[in-house]
Symmetry: C2
DNA sequence: ACCCATGTGTTAACCGGTTGACATATATTG
DNA sequence: CAATATATGTCAACCGGTTAACACATGGGT
């Protein structure tokens, strides 16, 4: 691969002059500038970002840690985030933690060794101590890590409220909420808080189903839902913590002969693309992934620039009413 | 961030000795080794991979270019590939080309500047010339770029055959295939070839529907399928080039009052997770994504080591028969 | 005539880590 | 006693690019 020395030789100037042209610093005549650009083109030269990173102590890389990018929510998050980050001059290293604390730790160390400019953490959090050591910008996504680490989230409580209120508005008399483990201190737990609050306000009987921490065993969703609906056949409204869970619920309802939405209404969460693709189309609480992604990257940039940032960055959700209600 | 000099000072040895310990080279006594490791731990030191990459001319980074990771197929591909690559000591830079040739070119340049060890290209191909210039390992995923660039694919022809033969076995009398643009020279076109071959062998009437190059406009799928099934209501078998298309087909069939699989049978492709999640579960031709991902990474490694590799790397597909047939 | 701006080159140090060559000291082996 | 192995340090160069300081030449303006 050609280096700056090769370009200097080809253009008949010094390495310093080539560097001046590359960085547009100092005095440079037009003739010299043209000569240098032409030499770069003839040699098919591109500056080595590794060398530049070493010198500038800035890699322009962001590390993104997700449970698994195979999950539609994290897939769409990654797509938005990488697209925005790239438009801001950043590259994204993708890391799948599989919600394994030791893998998460390994990835954090790897990202640190690779001098990433920042980390966006969308996975299970380690002990807070690990983050204190990091000495680089971290933004938590849909998670609260510590008072010192900014996080981007959407209004989970409002999302829960909107969902339950719609169920009640549509005439549901007995409702259930399926969510992740409430023992994990997740921001999404506020959806459940809202679910209970509204149900208790309106004196509507309700049930809660928690999945295990390994939240991506879809068969488990189906099993839990099947048990729930078998034990409580009068449940006529389901609020689920993801569209994937909602799809599982739809499947279970079909098996039990319950018509959607006539016999049972279903509301999912996230509003990933698949929600409007399946039939019936899923009513979902939409998290503004594009905006959340953009905000995450901007927070990383602000932290890099030493600017003060809000720790809590909460965006509104939106009810996308479709055919399952 | 602590450097090797800080470690040397803390341990009371020279920088060279620390480097010897880090790399396990030369003579090192146990006592010295322990001192150095203890100093690293006390200082929370981790070697700077940027500096190492510069010196070794090896970044241990693989660039993965996909059309969009938001698409379930590429999401699952990315998850498998990153997981395997990481287990082999590689990091993955994710790039979403949006099937835009100029973005693809930009990403290739960016990856080159960042001294990635190799590129796995799962997006729309640029002109072959661009790859000739690259001077780094490239593996094409489900694409043929040139005789010099190895590619990983699955047996598309066999996949097409399996699909059509199952439709016919299930009694279909009139079938249709929905695929991407056949003007693009894609390996997936062999599915269509097989579709036609079998239909013609068995003298079964058939139709073909091609989508535009921008293949992810799902509404377009629905529109094309709606038109097709309205114009040809006797079609009783659909073979679609992805599970996402299959889901769109299911939706259209519901709207037209066609029962699946009683009135019309549907077969998708890829066998992404969502295929078995929806109801009815989709019969799909399964591409072995885990194996294909692993093979892609191994090919990059072989190319890096200067080992000869096969240009064509074709893995078998598998018919996953479910409820839509 | 002097000062300032423009333009380019030379030199050296640096970013963090690696490594070869060689020096010095000590211990072990034949 | 000599040769070899072990152990550690010193020195310098390198990976590719950046940049400051200074030198030198030329031209323009006051």
């Amino acid at each position: 691969m050609p280096t700056i020395k090769d370009v200097a030789e080809r253009a008949g100037v010094s390495v310093t002059t080539v560097s001046r042209v590359l960085n547009n610093r100092g005095y440079i005549s037009e003739a010299t500038r043209k000569k240098v650009y032409q030499a770069m083109e003839e040699l098919d030269y591109q500056p080595n970002e590794v060398a530049r990173s070493l010198f500038r102590k800035k890699s322009n890389i962001i590390g993104l840690i997700v449970p698994t990018v195979a999950h539609p929510f994290f897939a769409e998050l990654t797509a938005y985030l990488e697209t925005y980050a790239y438009s801001r001059g950043y590259k994204v290293l993708i890391c799948n933690s599989q919600l394994d604390a030791s893998k998460e730790q390994e990835y954090i160390w790897m990202l640190r060794r690779n001098q990433v400019d920042g980390i966006i953490m969308a996975s299970h959090t380690l002990e807070v101590e690990e983050y204190k050591k990091l000495d680089l910008p971290v933004v938590a996504f849909d998670r609260f890590i510590s008072k010192r680490i900014p996080y981007v989230t959407s209004d989970n409580y409002q999302g829960g409220r909107l969902a339950v209120e719609l169920l009640l508005e549509r005439g549901c008399k007995q409702i259930a909420h399926m969510c992740g483990s409430l023992h994990l201190d997740m921001l999404a737990n506020q959806r459940h808080r809202a679910f209970m609050d509204v149900a208790e306000e309106r004196k509507v009987p309700y049930f809660t189903v928690e999945t295990d921490i390994n939240v991506f065993e879809v068969e488990k969703y189906e099993e839990l839902l099947s048990d729930l609906l078998t034990e409580h056949p009068d449940i006529d409204g389901l609020f689920l913590n993801s569209d994937i869970m909602a799809i599982a619920a739809m499947k279970v309802c079909r098996k039990l002969g319950k018509r959607i939405p006539q016999d049972i209404k279903i509301i999912g969460y996230d509003d990933v693309s698949i929600a409007s693709l399946v039939s019936p189309q899923i009513t979902s609480i939409r998290q503004p992934l594009a905006e959340m992604s953009e905000l995450s990257v901007r927070l990383i940039e602000a932290l890099l620039e030493g600017k003060p940032v809000e720790v809590e960055n909460c965006l509104p959700v939106q009810l996308m009413e479709r055919e399952t209600t």
